[in-house]
């Protein structure tokens, strides 16, 4: 039987190896959020210049990678699901104090369920949060994979700025916005 989580010193290097693997396969840059742009180009280009690229030629490999992520996640959760994420006791206490009771699963069921969509917490977390992720990644020209992993590894100054932004926004969201939403 396998214990969760997979240790960071196994997971991190495997994630890092995506960068050379994609270069060796086809000189492609590791970066997941480009897929959001490709999907917009496929579904609703609306003559917007940002979506006028040939998404099939430029994005098939990356959309295929994304499909692989989905299938990999389905397989992992079927055979070895992380049922309870054993976060540190301090985090548990803080989340209890914010009013969350059920801390099982990969995300709190009190927020991330269909029934919660019309609550303030659910709407802010899924609808607003998702929108900000999509808008911010496109504006910054990359997300955690393209900037925080590939870009930092390549020592690109733009990626360092972006990762600084990710953390500034994430800290503000966690320490200022979330307490307002949950209380």
């Amino acid at each position: 039987m396998f214990t969760h989580p997979l240790p960071w010193y196994v997971a991190g290097p495997l994630i890092g190896l995506m960068v050379p693997a994609m270069l060796l396969l086809g000189n492609k840059p590791f970066g997941i959020s480009s897929n959001l742009r490709h999907l917009c180009a496929a579904l609703a280009p609306c003559r917007i210049e940002f979506f006028s690229h040939d998404w099939k030629r430029l994005g098939s490999w990356n959309l295929t990678f994304l499909l692989g992520i989905f299938v990999g996640a389905v397989t992992a959760s079927r055979f070895a699901p992380p049922l309870i994420v054993a976060v540190s006791p301090q985090t548990m206490t803080a989340l209890h104090q914010l009013g969350l009771h059920d801390l099982t699963g990969l995300a709190p069921r009190e927020i991330f369920g269909w029934a919660s969509l019309l609550t303030i917490q659910g709407f802010a977390s899924m609808v607003v949060g998702g929108f900000l992720v999509g808008f911010g990644a496109a504006y910054a020209g990359g997300c955690t994979s393209g900037h925080a992993i590939a870009g930092l590894a390549d020592r690109q100054p733009a990626s360092l700025l972006a990762v600084g932004g990710f953390f500034a926004g994430g800290l503000a969201g966690t320490h200022f916005v979330l307490p307002l939403l949950l209380r």
Binding site: A11, G12, V74, P82, S88, L106, T144, A158, A172
Partner: protein, 138 residues
């Protein structure tokens, strides 16, 4: 172009991010509260591994069949506004959803189907950026 290797690579990535709980909202909370090393360990060792691999590829002078060196295209810095502002907006969303784009897709597959709403919303966010792009500072 052969797509199967990208599918398999994605599959490995999907398994790893679920099993290491990188996709978990709880782990993201723990990270932004500085309560554990796990997420920092994952990110730092991923960056180190990728950095060493890039150096090896560069030193070995690996190229495509047509002679193009294997490398990541440098991001133009411009004023840097887009990276700081876009990054902060992304970070706020990352804290709220508890997931970045890859994990959003993984979560739908790993038992949080309502995350599909966040994916549709993320597409709306990217579309809105595309629409406003000519008027935003970069």
């Amino acid at each position: 172009m052969a797509l199967l290797p990208y599918f398999l690579l994605g599959g490995l990535f999907g398994v790893v991010v679920v099993e290491a709980e990188v996709v978990s909202w709880f782990r993201i909370q723990e990270m932004f509260r500085f309560d554990a090393f796990h997420m920092y360990g994952v990110i730092a060792s991923a960056v180190m591994t990728a950095a060493i691999s890039l150096l090896v590829i560069k030193r070995a002078g690996l190229r495509e069949a047509d002679g193009t060196p294997l490398s990541l295209a440098p991001k133009t810095l411009d004023t840097g506004v887009r990276y700081v502002a876009g990054g902060a907006i992304f970070g706020l969303g990352w804290a709220l959803t508890g997931a970045c784009p890859g994990p959003l897709v993984a979560l739908v597959g790993a038992g949080v189907p309502a995350m599909l709403v966040a994916i549709v919303s993320a597409l709306g966010g990217t579309w809105t950026y595309g629409r406003l792009r000519p008027r935003l500072p970069h």
